[in-house]
Amino acid sequence: MNPNILEELRGILGPHGLISSSEELRTYECDGLTNFRVIPSAVVLPDSTEQVQAVVRVCHRERIPFVARGSGTGLSGGALPVAGGIVICLARMKRILEVDLANARVVVEPGVINLEVTGRVASANFFYAPDPSSQSVCSIGGNVAENSGGAHCLKYGFTTTHVLGLDVVLPDGSLVHLGSKTLDAPGYDLAGVFVGSEGTLGIATKIILRIVKRPECVRTLLAAFHSTNEAGAAVSGIIATGMLPAAIEMMDNLAIQAAEAAVHANYPNCGGLLLVELDGPVAEVDALMAHVDEICRQNGAWEIRVAQSEAERALVWKGRKAAFAAMGRISPNYIVQDGVIPRTSLPQILNEIKELSAETGLRVANVFHAGDGNLHPLVLYDRRVPGQEKAAERLSERILELCIEKGGSITGEHGVGEEKKHMMSKMFAEPDLDTMQRVRCAFDPLQLSNPTKVFPRTRLCGDKPGEYVPHPLETAGIAERY
């Protein structure tokens, strides 16, 4: 990078706010998806909105692409640097700026860790609902970029449900306020569009969050089934009775084994494990939990346990939340996917995954947010065996194609990022993607903010968009538009 520009950045950030030596830059070459790596030209560590603005202004003037980064735990390569670009790491902007309990609002900087928000308000019986498994290390800024979910979004919604407003540094360095502490601010819901835009529309430097009153009680039930099909049938039964549990999680035998090896959660060794959590007023939860118990037994559960203490509950969740990392115990390498299907297609897709696994000889462990159809198949492989990595990539891609065929999505919470952008044209028709990019052009006409992510190809902002042409799959009667 041009030394004059580095000098200018150093002037903005001070001597400790700029990283430009090649060995230090290597720390930032990837995020949680480690098979994509790019070394950035520089990394800056701003500690204020003004510094972010000043850096972005330099990027805008010099046409340097930039990528915002939080804790770097993302699983889709969203924070992968762009060659020749700058990484703007927001880890130093980690102040909780305001806690307003009367109105259930907390205002934070983007580097604040997800779990710290709950930590700050727990004594007043509030919590911050979105709970990605990495919540003890991931940042709110990263959650905003990816619209992170978690096990409890079945009932409580996603990051976007809990973000009311944002201060955003636009890709030209100007600062705008989107949304507000009050609801329904006049104008377009640009806060709603910004959340989940994966860093492609600008950088959030202040975020207004909504916190939630902790329910009077939380009960967690663990049920062991002979198979995931039986467990899946129990999930359908629970939903059909009209309950909305706080979470319904499922693990197959391979995932259970891994979790056991890693954290000794004391899970029963079974074909399909269901974890059902209900929360709310005690009287309500007790009545419904009896139903859940009954439904599980009717569908073949041979062991049912209800966590008797907060410690037991925490251990049950620890096993589930450690499931990805636990794969290291049973396989040298793995790919985690994040497909979504309509929940009722669960038995079918599990059989298909089993067939694919048998065909390729690769093991697939399955962990799902079963209530909302979000699958996390973990494709296990050994990089040292020639050809296995490619085969594993092909297999996980095939699983995502199955999700699309069932009317689902290629990502429920991890984001498209770098990893899945080529799948976007399988899920959406060209006019759909072009229309999304109109938003991009309004925010970032020069395409400097995380420019290479999400979309399979960028649309030049001067392009005149064409009219709708049916997707070949539609013409052939294979796919239908919803």
Binding site: T182, Y188, E284, E413, T435, P465
Partner: protein, 399 residues
Amino acid sequence: MAERFRPASRTEADGIGEVLRAIVGPEHVRLATEVDAVAGVVPLVVVEPADERQTASVLRCANQAGLAVIPCGGGTKLDWGNPSRQADVVLSVRRLNQVIEHAWADLTVTVEAGCTVAQLQRTLAQHGQRLAVDPLWPERATIGGILATNDSGTLRLGYGALRDLIIGVTLALADGTIASSGGKVVKNVAGYDLPKLATGSLGTLGVITRAVFRLHPLPRNTRTLTIAVGDADAMQRVILSILGEQLAPAAVQARDGNVDILLEGTLDGIAAQESVIKKFGEVREGSPAVWKAREDLWPSSGAGPIVKFTTLPSRISAAAAPLSRFVIQATGIGYARFDGDVQELRAAMERDGGSLMILGATKLDAWGSPGDSLPLMRAVKEQFDPKGTLNPGRFVGGI
């Protein structure tokens, strides 16, 4: 864009009508009259396409011809927003009224924009489900209309707003593009969240042709409780006390010296919550009709307009102080008929971090200030509708 109010010329209308008749069939185009006036502006023609493709074709033709299009559903809130700078074609989605797919086992529905809220709810109820919103005039209001005007209702406290329930949308853009985003599954982060962008955009970015929603089961039991409160401070105290408990009310609102609470769930759960609520005042059984209190503001006589205002829950009593006829939801969204100085009231709301929107055409701007994001909103509009074909001038800041 110049001010282009213009009277409908008969020959012009005939010319447009002919082109549109070729697209949708002669029986679905008619010349507009005084009764079709939208916020005081009389259009040339009213056209009712049969489907998405025809909707897109009508838009493309109008866009090419430089005609302004006013999208329309049930017409219950057609006068919300500012008067149109130009109004040539009223595009009614009345015939796009099918519930396309109620995937009840997956708790989702795909529905066309012209389906009324009540019709949708009746269909969903066959499988014991609902779209958890209670907007104004559900028998006539359409799905496209409640989305465009962002009218969620009181259940928002318990179930979220339309923006939280919509999971997919299909838009027909001014240039005839048909674009879908989101999807049919409740959890999905692939691509930009255009369902949220469309919600509350008053038809200025595209015509919503269909939407996909996540659904909720119909409640096993419901009970409405009402607590009489003496003054605005007591009203706020009761609301904050309820919100401060570990309860799960589906809705809470204040009106006419009363606070109403809607409880849903098992009988045991409702009874337990009721016993907590009794701490805050004398509780009596309320009528389910109280949840229609918002609608009662309209027929009421009064010189001033009806306004929607937003405030923080902790500022409800301050917001209510200058108001006489109002309904305020515990989320901080209120409705009032106000015959005082609306601009002064708006200034007070905005100083407090809130906003005020006038529901219906007056001489005043309907929206108030969107703040420093207005240029960005204009840039979005420019990308979606560069010629200003859709509802020109009706939205914030002249968009």
